[in-house]
Chain length 322, copies 2
């Protein structure tokens, strides 16, 4: 198997070699190129290539499906940014800011169909399984996004629904990305499922870690200002778990969130999170889901050497301690 | 074969028997049910059933694909209504008016994936062809919608681009609907292509007729007030063809469109259209594309009796003279 950096470079160059229609259709396809050329770690398509390479010694065979996964991921970003009214992403204006909302909606739709098309460019005997995995995943992602939207106005959120939300929004795509690669590589049904679990659990650990970093991370390595979620009153793992403690804390937290967005609010909320032991609880949850990911990976028929590459990827994703 | 009314009733009852997830996911799926239960002629899924019945004597086999076609059509309506800021459709508030814009975007995305999923529920040896037909059609529809959006601010539109736009937005879906049915029914490649042409050409004739009705139709049978397109300065067949005449007419038309929306503008524009012989030109174009549809249909290997049902459907769609 190659290194993660090598797979990532392969994805990047394949992404940039796709040719989109121009002429009078440039207004439909230019926003797609703009979105796909924004860079990023390309973790999801890398997982697809790794799955195919690990089980079939042929990453190239899964390249088109990998591009489909990355195109799908970026389609969700286009539409999410419209829904959240986010103006910036990866240091650049979002598509609807750079173009307009209608372009983001319509070019996003186009990306979903293109993604489905790319993912379907597999051998005939793999098509049904790959397509079912992809469509099932897509529905989970929308369901996760819907729960996330509904949380905004929800008074009470159980830790269970929070986990259902991030499993949909984040976990299922990582799971499907690696599972589709595994199917293309010729993995057994059992191995493909185990790789799906590896991906989902890695996604859960990653998301909870991301929530943790927002409060307890280091601004310089996190890449975003600390406390952004607190200022936006986002329903993160920390928030949901702290609220679930019940008692006086609920009132204390509610009051802290009444403070106008800014440093004072961030400090007040962080203090309550600390008092409730959320720092440790969060790290424990990350460890719990990382261990589950590892357990699934270890149960596959892959060689130790191949498992090692997947372990490295999970560490790279989750291991960001600051 | 059954009658069009019977196929339509079959579609309606199958649509209403789909069960969507409820509970905490109702907010994602309720807008989908709301959209799909709005009624309508169900022409597109009827075409799919007819295609399967004509070539394979089994309409039921294509029911899931037919529901996919109808779900796709309604997905485009959800997103188009957001983009056009349309508040009413079929006498009811549009999805984004009844719920909100974010719901229309996200539930629309969900409908596109559901549509792809339904359309894929065909026998393994048909899957590749059906899916390719569906994805290619979807891209044509987005391209048509993009052209339509770009026309709004375009100074000059050629009749050729206008036809490209309606072929994408309207023709390709009718074509793909019947072609997918034909493939499921086991039609030869040649017959499937001919049926696609029949559908596309019927769609073009239908759309031009619809443009004609807006100016020269009868409000009571048209179902919408006459002159709506003129008041919205829509780039219809009449407008584009009249502008293409060149000379003084261009200036006269531009002035007429400067009149504030209302009866005076409608009358002024209609007078110019009449002077330029647009009434006849339009009817001639409808006749031209209807004849092309018929020619494609006649070239298929279908029996005269079966052709008759498709002729009836085209007449039903296009034959609205008032």
């Amino acid at each position: 198997m190659k290194t993660i950096a090598e797979y990532s470079a392969d994805v990047e160059s394949a992404l940039r070699s796709i040719e989109y229609p121009s002429g009078n259709l440039a207004s439909l396809y230019a926003p797609i190129e703009y979105a796909l050329y924004a860079g990023g770690k390309r973790i999801r398509p890398v997982l697809t290539l790794m799955g195919a390479d690990a089980f079939g010694d042929d990453a190239e065979k899964a390249m088109k499906a990998a591009l489909g996964i990355e195109t799908f991921h970026n389609f969700t970003l286009l539409h999410d940014d419209v829904m959240d009214k986010s103006e910036m992403r990866r240091g650049r204006p979002t598509v609807h800011t750079r173009y307009d909302e209608n372009s983001a909606i319509l070019s996003g739709d186009t990306m979903l169909t293109l993604a489905t098309k790319y993912v379907s460019e597999v051998e005939d005997d793999k098509l049904r399984k790959v397509l079912d995995t992809f469509n099932t995943m897509a529905l989970r992602v929308y369901e996760g996004q819907r729960l996330d939207m509904d949380f905004e106005n929800a008074d009470h959120i159980s830790l269970e629904s929070y986990l259902e939300m991030i499993e949909g929004k984040t976990g299922s795509l990582l799971g499907a990305a690696v599972k589709i690669g595994a199917i293309i590589g010729g993995a057994s049904e059992k191995d493909a499922e185990l790789m799906y679990d590896y991906g989902v659990m890695t996604g859960l650990a990653f998301q909870i870690q991301d929530d943790w970093l927002d409060t307890f991370g280091d601004a310089t390595t996190f890449g975003k200002p600390i406390g952004g979620d607190i200022n936006n009153a986002k329903k993160t793992y920390l928030y949901v778990a702290a609220m679930a403690e019940g008692g006086q804390n609920v009132e204390a937290l509610r009051s802290a969130y009444q403070i106008p967005a800014g440093e004072v609010r961030v400090k007040a909320v962080t203090r309550i999170f600390e008092k409730l032991g959320m720092n440790e609880k969060c790290r424990k949850a990350v460890g719990h889901y990382s261990a589950k990911a590892l357990k699934a990976l270890n149960a596959t028929s892959l060689s130790e050497e191949k498992k090692e590459t997947f372990k490295k990827l999970a560490e790279k994703l989750i291991g960001r301690r600051k």
